[in-house]
Amino acid sequence: MLKIEIDGKPVEVDHGTTIIDAADKLGVAIPRFCYHKKLSVAANCRMCLVEVEKFGKPLPACATPVAEGMKIFTRSKAAVQAQQSVMEFLLINHPLDCPICDQGGECDLQDVAVGYGASGSRYTEEKRVVFNKNIGPLISTDMTRCIQCTRCVRFLKEVGGMQELGMVGRGEHAEITAYVDQSVNSELSGNIIDLCPVGALTNKPFRYSARSWELVRRPSIAPHDSMGSHIEVHVKDDKVMRVLPREKESINECWLSDRDRYSYEGLNSPDRLKVPMIKHHGEWQETDWKTALEYAAGQIKDITTEHGSDALGALVSPNSTMEEGYLIKELVHGLGCGNVDYRLRQTDFRLDGKRVGTPWMGCNIDEIEKLDRILLIGSNIRNEHPLLAQRFRKAVDNGAELSIISPLDNNPLMDIAHKIIVTPNDIVNVLAQILKAMSKLQKLSLCLPPQLSELLEQIHVRPNTEAMAESLVGLGETVNLIAPKVGIFLGNMALSAPRFTEMYSLAEAIGGVSGAKGGILPAAANSTGMHLLGVMPASTGMHARAMLEVPRKAYLLLNIEPELDCQHAALARSAMEKADCVVALTAYKSKALDHATVLLPIAPFTETSGTFMSMEGRIQSFKAVVKPLGECRPAWKVLRVLANTLGLQGFDFESSEEVKLKIFDGEKPSDFARSRLNNNMKELVEIETKIKSPGLQRVGEVPQYEADPIVRRSEPLRKTKYNIKRLVRLHPDEMRAYDLVEGDMVLVTQDKGSTVLPVRPDAHVAPGCVRVAAAHEDTLGLGDLMGDISIEKITQEQADVFKSKQMEAQN
């Protein structure tokens, strides 16, 4: 520890601490623009100059490490003179257009200028003008305001993983820009708005819609992935105007993904359902709550009475709250029915009943960056959990070796040590190879259960898998780690694969052999919570897939658009078509709910209170930040009244908090989670490693801005480059094998459903795979996200005929 003095106040700090960090620790405010605790030190703005005893000139507090006995003066005459002179320089070319600047009221430059600026300017020469750049639909630029602090450049390079902005030119002519006419495409791009200390980069959708002082700031939890990022929702006149990160070091640090930042535009979508509706002779009619609920309850009752309680199926969004999940489960069970499930994008349910507890990520989010070896299985991490990808990036920057096994060779914007790109089915074999290679490397083969040992005997380990295994046990190019910290994670593509059970079991075994942490990276905000609550079929019930395969007479839908949110779009669609009654609790009117019978308008997360459980098992409650729109009601309330209307007992909750109390039943929520989160398996399932599909296998990712009903209605996100027209993408070798060239029309068929799409070669797709993204109206005819698929080249005329037939069928 070093003893130093700042403005006469003594403080002890660690070796290597900079003056600015020491001052921050002491609560001494030093003005700054370029310095940011999460970015590399640039020391270019010079605003943080301070006087240090025995130094002839002022030193930048951000870049100067303290030394024993250092006496620092941040407010001395010399320090203030230096700071004032820097302020003067910063302002000479600044337009001083605060009245028309969106940053006004929350501008670092404005704030610091009040403290350090002069009332008038000595600069009488011409001011610099810098042309604005169009860097995409999310960020507005007013580059004349830029003070060249380069925070944005450093963020995209260091945190985003890809240098998309740069400072071109030099001297006074230096300006921040993207490469000629390119947009900034980082899925974390919005953070540069927060980082910009002036009004050069502002929020494009929010532009000119409110002044910062008119906004009320309310805390909430981000609902589009399972990280549980902390957000601050900014509200004006009961409308969500924008969303910003709320600092939480152990989860989202001070960042937010673009999905979580800009999805709010979907909350204000014209699609919002504002009043209950009942379909009457094929026509939607608005109605009041009482009528709607009585109608819904009557229908459910009639059908269950006539066909048995088993005739009902409840499909629940994993983005719904724990309270909502609990109530719908209780409601369905109350009717004597076991058909309830949240796992809408899963095909493989063979692990049901085989686990000890609730599967989770197996470690904390902030442990990732400390890992030495990482294995990601079936995950397009930037698409699935954009901010989590940044944690992995930090690990790699810290020297971790990243291995990837996936059907897609997507660039994670970090160095990959080893990668194996194979079909989803072949992932199983690769994992078995790794297990075999590792057990040999660890000399642990005898410790494996005999079932596995036998299985591994038939496995042939290939050199690239061997290399991956060596990395995972800690062998390195220069240094071998004796006890490496290893993390093994299964992503969305693994979770929806038909061989998920094998992948999970082998990953568990590999984890056991290597002492790795890890588990699954659940897709949605409350996937873990739903599992923990058991929003899953009772022993006699049907899981989500079965409910569609064997259509039910009645469905109760919570917060979903069936054909967009379910694994098998075609199946979901036909099941809804065939049902006698579909009661949908939804925030949106949707084409996907055309076959519903009753639409009950529920409040999205901003208009209700509730609780999510994140991938790391964190239980986080939030309150409504605005009043429900129109006649919308919180879903917990709707479910409660529906249960009451159905005559069920035990639903007398007055608030979501009461539901929460009931869920945890007096236990401390964290203890509740602790005792139930567990990735271990009770018993080994049968593993078949040589699954060969006769044909091709689909890789049907859900694009990040299509993940759920809110985000898919955010216009700004739809305008980004991630919202691409649906294509069939094939490895160039497959293109040749099927005699295809780019732009050819292809008839794609899964099960009995088909669609027609143009084809494009894509070397990032594993041979044997067909990449067709899901959750889009163009692919509604298709089946499983990771299922068998066939393709056939057709002519443009045939394609036109197909499409016109499709149109007819829809009308």
Binding site: N44, F89, Y123, E172
Partner: protein
């Protein structure tokens, strides 16, 4: 052979008299074909390298000789070379780098160009000796992009040295390896600053790094790196051949050796003069043929524009060494004398210099990026007849606010001419402001 011929295509030869010079870095000029390997070898070239390497002379012994020589960094900062060498970590797991700074862009400085033109092998040997001493495995000579011919000459000399076994792997049959490469700038004054130069070697913009960490711990590709000026490296073989003391004895206290002085501007014979440190200015001026056209001396910038201008009265009694010029109110810098005769308008001259710093500021630090443009515009306005008396105080104030407030010394360099020109020639500035025209040329 008594004249120094410029070999530049289509240029008249510079008739620089070698009499009175102490040729060390340009010692091959006494010979025909000065740049060839044979010439250098004839003068004992590469023998010191061979001696050190084959006799496994200890690094500390070499460093002691360099310390003894009193050699100070010839790039302008004047930091003792031997001391700088001692900062390099002795033991390091990985490649250490050696960098030669031939990014000669300080106006009025053109000495390193002649070293490459006329004696490239002495530079190569100097670098190889430094590499041996410091344990550097790889070296780069970063050459000013504008002197393209010299870049090609150096590449050719490297090929010769490589073929002759003076650089490369297992030199002289030992385990000593040293790979040396030529790299180039492409038009950025700032890359003469050592950390900007390092950034540039890495293929980035030449924006200086904040120090600490210094290059000795975090240099090229983040590895320990020692950077010296061309002339400094080229002095090393002579120092080891004749001993540090012999070098020190050539000069005066605090300024060992001889040094190349680049003399430009209003003299009869502009060119490089390698003379002993401590030579009276008047003697050096006489060697350069005196003031041209029989005119009177008005002022001299003694070490490039980042050193303060000296009126004739101040420099005429000065000696050409670190202490001598410091006592006289300026500094030696890179030894680049820009001589101005009585017809020179100091306002217009300052305008050109301030334009230079405005143009060459890298744009990283606020005071330099914003301040150099401000200064230039005010001076330009004065030369356009729109000056105000208070502009002079403003210029002084703004310059003081740039100086000492930036990552690198360019901020200080940009302030120096403004402060010293106004200090020594204030009446000329006032005249220009009052009359809207120059006191000297009436325009």
């Amino acid at each position: 052979m008594s004249t120094l011929k410029s070999e530049t295509k289509d240029s008249k030869p510079v008739m620089t008299d070698l009499k009175g010079q102490t040729l060390i870095t340009l010692q091959t000029l006494k010979e025909d074909n000065p740049a060839s390997l044979a010439t250098y070898e004839k003068l004992g070239g590469y023998e010191q390298l061979k001696r050190l390497v084959t006799n496994k002379v200890k690094a500390v012994e070499v460093i002691n000789q360099v310390k003894l020589s009193g050699l100070r960094g010839r790039g302008g900062a004047g930091f003792p070379t031997g001391l700088k060498w001692s900062f390099m970590p002795r033991y390091y797991d990985g490649t250490k780098y050696l960098v030669c700074n031939t990014d000669e862009g300080e106006p009025g400085t053109f000495k390193d160009r002649d070293i490459i033109r006329y004696n490239p092998h002495q530079l190569i040997e100097g670098m190889a000796i430094a590499a041996y001493t410091l344990g550097a495995g790889v070296g780069y000579n970063y050459i000013h992009g504008e002197i393209w011919r010299e870049y090609e000459i150096f590449e050719a000399a490297l090929a010769e040295a490589r073929a002759a076994g003076y650089i490369g792997q297992n030199l002289f049959g030992t385990h000593f390896n040293f790979e040396l490469y030529a790299v180039h700038g492409y038009g950025a004054y700032i890359c003469g600053e050592e950390t900007a130069l390092i950034e540039s070697i890495e293929g980035k913009k030449g924006q200086p790094r904040f120090k600490p960490p210094f290059p000795a711990s975090y240099g090229v590709f983040g590895k320990p790196t020692n950077v010296n000026n061309t002339e400094s490296f080229a002095s090393i073989p002579w120092i080891l051949q004749h001993g540090g003391q012999a070098f020190a004895d050539l000069g005066v206290a605090g300024s060992g050796g001889s040094k190349l002085f680049s003399v430009s501007g209003h003299v009869e014979k502009p060119g490089n003069y390698e003379v002993n440190m401590g030579m009276p200015f008047t003697e050096l001026l006489a060697m350069a043929g005196g003031i041209w056209k029989g005119r009177q001396l008005k002022a001299v910038i003694p070490g490039g524009p980042s050193t303060a201008v000296m009126p004739a009265s101040a420099i005429l009694d000065a000696t050409m060494d670190y202490n001598g010029l410091s006592k006289a109110g300026s500094s030696l810098g890179a030894g680049s004398l820009i001589v101005m005769d009585e017809t020179t308008c100091m306002v217009k001259t300052l305008k050109r210099l301030s334009y230079f710093f405005y143009e060459e500021s890298c744009g990283q630090c606020t005071p330099c990026r914003e301040g150099t443009g401000w200064v230039y515009r005010v001076i330009k306005r004065i030369t356009e007849g729109n000056g105000k008396m208070e502009d002079l105080d403003l210029l002084t104030d703004v310059s003081n606010n740039i100086s000492g407030r930036t990552i690198c010394a360019l901020g200080d360099a940009a302030a120096t001419p403004v402060l010293s020109f106004i200090k020594h020639f204030r009446p000329e500035f006032e005249y220009y402001i009052q009359h809207g025209k120059s006191m000297v040329d009436g325009q």
